[in-house]
Amino acid sequence: MLGEAEPQWISEEVKTGTTIIAIEFNGGVVLGSDSRVSAGDSVVNRVMNKLSPLHDKIYCALSGSAADAQTIAEMVNYQLDVHSLEIDEDPQVRSAATLVKNISYKYKEELSAHLIVAGWDRRDGGQVFATLGGLLTRQPFAIGGSGSSYVYGFVDAEYRRGMTKEECQKFVVNTLALAMNRDGSSGGVAYIVTIDEHSTDEKVILGNDLPTFFDQ
């Protein structure tokens, strides 16, 4: 019996296609993400903030399956709250990253999400951790998501040790803009979060305020 086929996006998994990046500077970190959520060919959310707080000064960047990534972030948010009550002080970034890694590794066959954890703590300052596939590694910067493939060359060439906070913010915005231009699953606006000892600052950069390049 021939019926009308339902639109493709209803049966497609919702993915945060994505480009995410986090970079550490002396005294804090900068995180960045695009805002596109796709289900097959449709963009189901064009303004999603993929930078999710795990604690006051610890954020994570979500990529991969939207449901998996959000669930992991919520679980770790809860576990970190309990942990920080138990130790009666602000949690370390490494603790948050370890909690994320534990979930990602234990359920690695069922999950398809990658979270980058970044933040500031009193002990080690700004730190960035990658948890791809259930590993845990601290890096000066990390990129992830489908759009990251297109900017590996750019970040390898442009990264320098010892960049200031403003230079890091510019680096993040440029990287996101380049990736959003090339990756069909990344786009929309850019969300930037800057965390240091004194503040956690969230910013949005709208489409027409993003840097442009020679072919635009």
Binding site: S149, V151, G153, F154, A157, E158, R161
Partner: protein, 232 residues
Amino acid sequence: MAAASMMPIFSQNVSSNSDLVPEWSRQEVSTGTTIMAVEYDGGVVVGADSRTTTGAYIANRVTDKLTRIHDRIYCCRSGSAADTQAIAEVVSYQLGFHSIELDEPPLVETAAHLFRASCYRYREELMAGILVAGWDRRKGGQVYCVPIGGMLVRQPVSVGGSGSSYIYGFMDSNYKPGLSKDQCLDLTTKALTLAMERDGSSGGVVRLATISEDGVERRVILGDQLPKFSTH
């Protein structure tokens, strides 16, 4: 082998016959690759890495993927080594014949169209991504991109091959119209080096060629002379 009597609309396999033999022996020889071509005022710069792989084995670590089609027309090959070599030979022959009939050096656009004709007609059987670049008197330096599927488009700068994904961002941010020949060479060398560092199917040495009215100038940049990028 049991025959299936009723096939579902889609099937999901847990394992397949191919688990019995190592994967690399079933792999086609591929020029994994990163290739790049840039136009400048007066000519073009073309570049490629030098790795040919059969699965995980590097069959040739000093491959020359910059193939002469005519005196001032080269092509950069990516995809199946066999397919691209065969197409390049056919096009060289066709173009040589055409040039004799015309009694003039052939146009880059003509070479590009010949590549496209073959790549499009046999698109189901072929796996070839080709950059055609060269110099002719009518339009100067030109780069034409003929990716898998057989499209044809002229671009001022183009990258191709498996390693190209990693350098789109670098290329977009560093290329500007109006670069000089040396700036193009520098851009190409850096871009290929970055891609070779990230793509497992690209590596070896960087081969470059500059094509202009004066002819073709080829050079090789060996591993230890490649630019270094620090990420720690």
